[in-house]
Amino acid sequence: MDVSLIISNILNPPILFFFLGMTAVFVKSDLEIPAPIPKLFSLYLLFAIGFKGGVELIKSGITQEVVLTLAAAMFMACLVPIYTFFILKLKLDTYDAAAIAATYGSISAVTFITASAFLTELGIHFDGYMVAALALMESPAIIVGLILVNLFTVDEKRDFSWPEVLQEAFLNSSVFLLVGSLLIGFLTGEHGWKVLEPFTQGLFYGVLTFFLLDMGLVAARRIKDLQKTGVFLVLFAILIPIVNAGIGLAIAKFISLPPGDSLLFAVLCASASYIAVPAAMRLTVPEANPSLYVSTALAVTFPFNIIVGIPLYLYGINLFWR
């Protein structure tokens, strides 16, 4: 049953194009999506998912369920970086541990989007306000990571300014565009949706497919970095997502989220940031080694989640939600 879900997930164009991208690197094809096209696609995806989420949020209203979900999202975004930090400290220094912990406390929008495309195809409903949870979970881990660095390094006073850090955490382009599109969707509602639909809905699946082709290229190029990161981090990058998804599912069950929303919540908990957090970490914790936190998130956790994780978590939901 699990395996059949995995296979039906894999036989989707986006996942297959992800494999195609990885294959291109392995066979040394010169295929590449030239910059800044991937950037355009990622802006488009944030715009489309945010806008759609906003439109659905105005339809559903801000119910108790919404508030509970957002509180749970906030909770997980703080819990994950703290507990993983102590696991990582076993093997790594404070800087690297904090940076990786922050990476896993935050989320990957593309993983979320892939999961929502998967649900759409299976005909499982999910709520638009999950996009608000996505937006809410991007930033806290950056702050938590930085507080951890400050608590656990005693030597010299680190010279960074909190305003700059908050800026980086809450106003970086991903968060800003996502939240902005959500608000605009919220303001323009059904009316705005109708005029934008051919753009935000019609192209969505195709752009995601093309974008995952590029993600495959990027992830595969990072794989050779994994030799430097070592077995510990590779295991970490596979097991922690499963644990986080498990905690996420337990919370979802506890606050009685419907199956679709639960899957998305689990995916948010399980995913790791490879854009916003790495950018913030380069700036705020320059002592940490970027190839550690980028490579684990990008070359292990991301492929694991979209290929195995999403159907696996859905399998868990199928077991416990009936």
């Binding site: 910059a35 991937p38 590029d214 990027v218 950018a279 380069r282 700036l283 320059p286």
Partner: protein, 103 residues
């Protein structure tokens, strides 16, 4: 035609605004910036540009020789902290009205 100094800096794009501030503070008000520079340095390759937003920039600034010292003082701490390299060399500037005469 007179001698000026050429300052070349390669650094991560997130340092750009800080470096340009540093140049400005040191009295160097002209500069040119080339984005999307790939490369490899002490901290490894930076080729997955847009994905990880960790691409490099190449900053060029031509200035009077006396500005070099303040520039170095302002830029070095940034490069030491965030990475990047800076090089200085001699060039002749062609712009002033009388430069042809001096050839």
């Amino acid at each position: 035609m007179h001698l000026v100094k050429k300052i070349e800096i390669i650094a991560n794009s997130f340092e750009l605004s800080r470096i340009l501030d540093g140049l400005d503070k040191s009295g160097v008000h002209g500069h040119a910036v080339i984005r999307n520079v790939a490369g490899k340095g002490l901290r490894g390759t930076a080729e997955d540009l847009d994905m990880t937003m960790l691409d490099n920039v190449y900053i060029l600034a031509f200035c009077m020789p006396e500005h070099v010292k303040p520039v170095v003082e302002n830029i070095r701490p940034l490069l030491n902290k965030f990475g990047g390299t800076c090089y200085i060399s001699d060039v002749m500037e062609i712009r002033s009205t009388k430069c042809i005469a001096s050839l």
